[in-house]
């Protein structure tokens, strides 16, 4: 059997080693929390940024420009607009290519962002598939299945 002093060194040394691992893990967690956040709004496409400079007070209407509901006009308020086949959506689509909860338009500080709610066939802003929330400029087409929507001021 080894000397008592060696055993004591092992006993406390191992506990210190274990806790050093815990603190190393905590440092990674901390860096993840404070060193930059994931899940921010995706970068704004250049066309939208240019359009934002031109548009003065922000869009007032959501207009359907193509598809079965063509011509429908929704006046925008503060509330989010839910688009999908579900009965309680703001804009109820009757389109086999749309999901029941397809996409959402939200107002943040006077600007509208489109978000895909995990739809099967996707939402497209211009020709880019919407992954995270994207800023929508007036006149930019949002395509959901056979329906095309546009913000108008």
């Amino acid at each position: 059997m080894p000397a008592e002093i060696v055993l004591q060194a092992f006993r406390f040394g191992f506990l210190i080693l274990l806790w050093l691992f815990v603190f190393a893990a905590f440092r990674v967690v901390r860096a993840d929390l404070f060193g930059g956040r994931a899940g921010r709004v995706a970068s704004v496409p250049p066309r939208a940024a240019a359009a934002r400079k031109r548009g003065g007070r922000g869009p007032r209407h959501l207009v359907v420009t193509a598809g079965p509901l063509s011509g429908t006009r929704i006046t925008l308020g503060e509330q989010a607009i839910l688009i999908g086949r579900a009965d309680d959506s703001t804009l109820v689509l009757t389109d086999d290519f749309a999901s029941s909860r397809h996409a959402r338009l939200t107002n943040r500080g006077g600007q509208w962002y489109v978000e895909d709610l995990g739809s099967t066939n996707g939402t497209y802003l211009d020709q880019q598939r919407v992954q995270g929330p994207l800023l929508v400029a007036p006149g930019q087409p949002i395509r959901i299945g056979q329906t095309v929507l546009e913000l108008r001021s």
Binding site: F12, F14, L15, L17, L18, G39, F97, G118, Q128
Partner: protein, 475 residues
């Protein structure tokens, strides 16, 4: 601790600037994995020197094999899930390393000191199981390239899960220590419930994402709780009946509590209604009370839980030994190799936490719990960051199942809850549990990869709408 942790100011968006790579944090993972292997080897060395006076002969083989496991896991993650969370794998490595060391220590106690536990040498077997677990880990990462694909097999997985869950109740010869949880083939036995757990979590996630809008409807408010409509109680009642059946036919409080707890919490996460938690708790309390009145095996468990020392020679022997073991350990423990953890029955599997508590003390046991906590935190963090609802629910369910299982097991070992047949994930001796939990971590790694992967790389070339292949899927 020279882990190259990203300091403040490393904004992921800044890193997306042209010319610079996005930080994947794989280097951090490799360093922490090295640290975990170091801890494991140190534990082995300390045990060998303390108990026998010289390093064991198999230390080198063990060291090479164990390191190789994690190098392979790291390379596979680097290749197939480059943006995965850097902490998941190191936490698993340190927990399974600690478990292997304790099993090795109990092996020595069994053969040398002539302890009460069987004199079998189990550490190499457990290492083989860890290797099998790694194979499953790799298989899951390679086959499941996108976790959302799993949602399509939700009902198939539910069927597989239910069959696996029901199998031990139907098959003869499945009883070990009073609980019918095992299937035996020839030489070895597996615990299908561990795999059923994962299948059912995937199903719950897919099902709840689909139905959560209905389940979130409230009909009336009672005592500041928004109660759901009566007809929406169906799914929770079904889960409740299934868990009660498990309790009755497999005589295992652990699996029953685990499954029902996971379902109720996932229901809560999906609907954001606290009333589901209350309903679930009341249902389970009612069911448990009736089971206590009707079935003697449930009554024995509860009675020994309420007063283990009154049954110290019969049913309460395990818990009493475990409490003595924890008491002997005290704050700093007896030192690795310095205690007599083999005095506790089945110390390698059900009571490994008591063995760790005796040799590493409260500080060691708390460190272990904190490592579990970090693992669960990374899972829940993944759930917050990932972009789709199914992934969110799946990650939350998997992370919660780990936390819940650790809570139920440690509750049993410390006398807080009635004793259950669950195993401590990654630590305890037992092939099925280890392999299944490797699969669970593989799913978490897959989802965390999807969560942390910057959207910019996923959509470098936005498909032209007219060229894009249209998948006609009826939602």
């Amino acid at each position: 601790m020279a882990a190259p942790v990203n300091g403040p100011g490393t904004d992921p968006r800044a890193a997306i600037a042209p010319g610079t790579a996005i930080p994947t944090r794989r280097g951090t993972e490799l360093l922490l994995l090295g640290f975990a292997v170091l801890i494991t080897l140190a534990a082995h060395l300390i045990i060998d020197i303390t108990v026998t006076g010289s390093p064991g002969t198999e230390l080198v083989t063990f060291g090479i094999w164990f390191s190789a496991l994690w190098v392979v896991a790291h390379v596979v993650v680097r290749r197939f899930a480059p943006y995965a969370d850097p902490l998941l794998l190191p936490c698993v490595a340190v927990l399974s390393g600690l478990g292997l060391s304790m099993i090795h220590r109990l092996d020595i106690a069994g053969t040398q000191l002539g302890g009460s536990s069987s004199a079998s040498v189990d550490a190499p077997v457990q290492l083989v199981w860890a290797t099998v677990g790694l194979v499953l880990f790799i298989a899951v990462l390679v086959i499941v390239r996108d976790h959302r694909a799993l949602a399509r097999f939700a009902y198939t997985l539910a069927l597989i899960g239910l069959v696996l869950l029901a199998l031990p109740a139907v098959l003869p010869n499945s009883e070990i220590n009073g609980a019918k949880l095992w299937i035996r083939f020839g030489g070895f036995s597996i615990q299908p419930g561990e795999f059923a757990k994962i299948c059912l979590i995937v199903f719950f996630a897919a099902y709840l994402v689909d139905k959560r809008d209905v389940l979130a409807l409230a009909s009336r408010r009672v005592l500041r709780l928004e109660l759901p409509r009566g007809r929406d109680l169906g799914p929770v009642l079904l889960a409740w009946v299934a868990s009660i059946l498990v309790l009755v036919f497999e005589r295992d409080l652990g699996s029953s509590l685990l499954l029902f707890g996971i379902f109720v919490v996932m229901l809560y996460v999906a609907t954001e209604r606290a009333s589901w938690l209350v309903i679930g708790l009341l249902l389970f309390a009612g069911g448990a009370f009736v089971a206590y009145q009707l079935f003697s095996h449930v009554r024995v468990r509860v009675d020994t839980w309420l007063d283990p020392f009154a049954y110290a020679d019969t049913g309460g022997y395990q818990v009493v030994q475990s409490l003595f073991s924890l008491g002997t350990g005290g704050l700093f423990g007896a030192g690795l190799g310095g205690g007599r953890p083999d005095q506790v029955p089945v110390a390698k599997s059900d009571f490994i936490a008591a063995a760790i508590g005796e040799e590493l003390g409260l500080f060691g046991l708390v460190a272990m719990i904190v490592i579990y906590l970090v693992l669960v935190e990374r899972g829940l963090r993944t759930s917050l960051v990932v972009r789709d609802g199914f992934g969110k629910l799946l990650a939350a369910g998997l992370a919660f199942s780990l936390a819940w299982q650790v809570f139920v097991v440690l509750g049993g070992v410390t006398g807080l809850l009635p004793l259950t047949g669950l195993t401590t994930p990654f630590l305890a001796y037992g092939g099925s549990s280890l392999v299944a939990n490797f699969g669970l971590v593989a799913l978490l790694v897959r989802i965390s990869d999807a969560a942390r992967r910057p959207a910019a790389t996923a959509a470098t070339t936005p498909p032209r709408l007219t060229d894009a292949p249209t998948e006609v899927v009826q939602p």
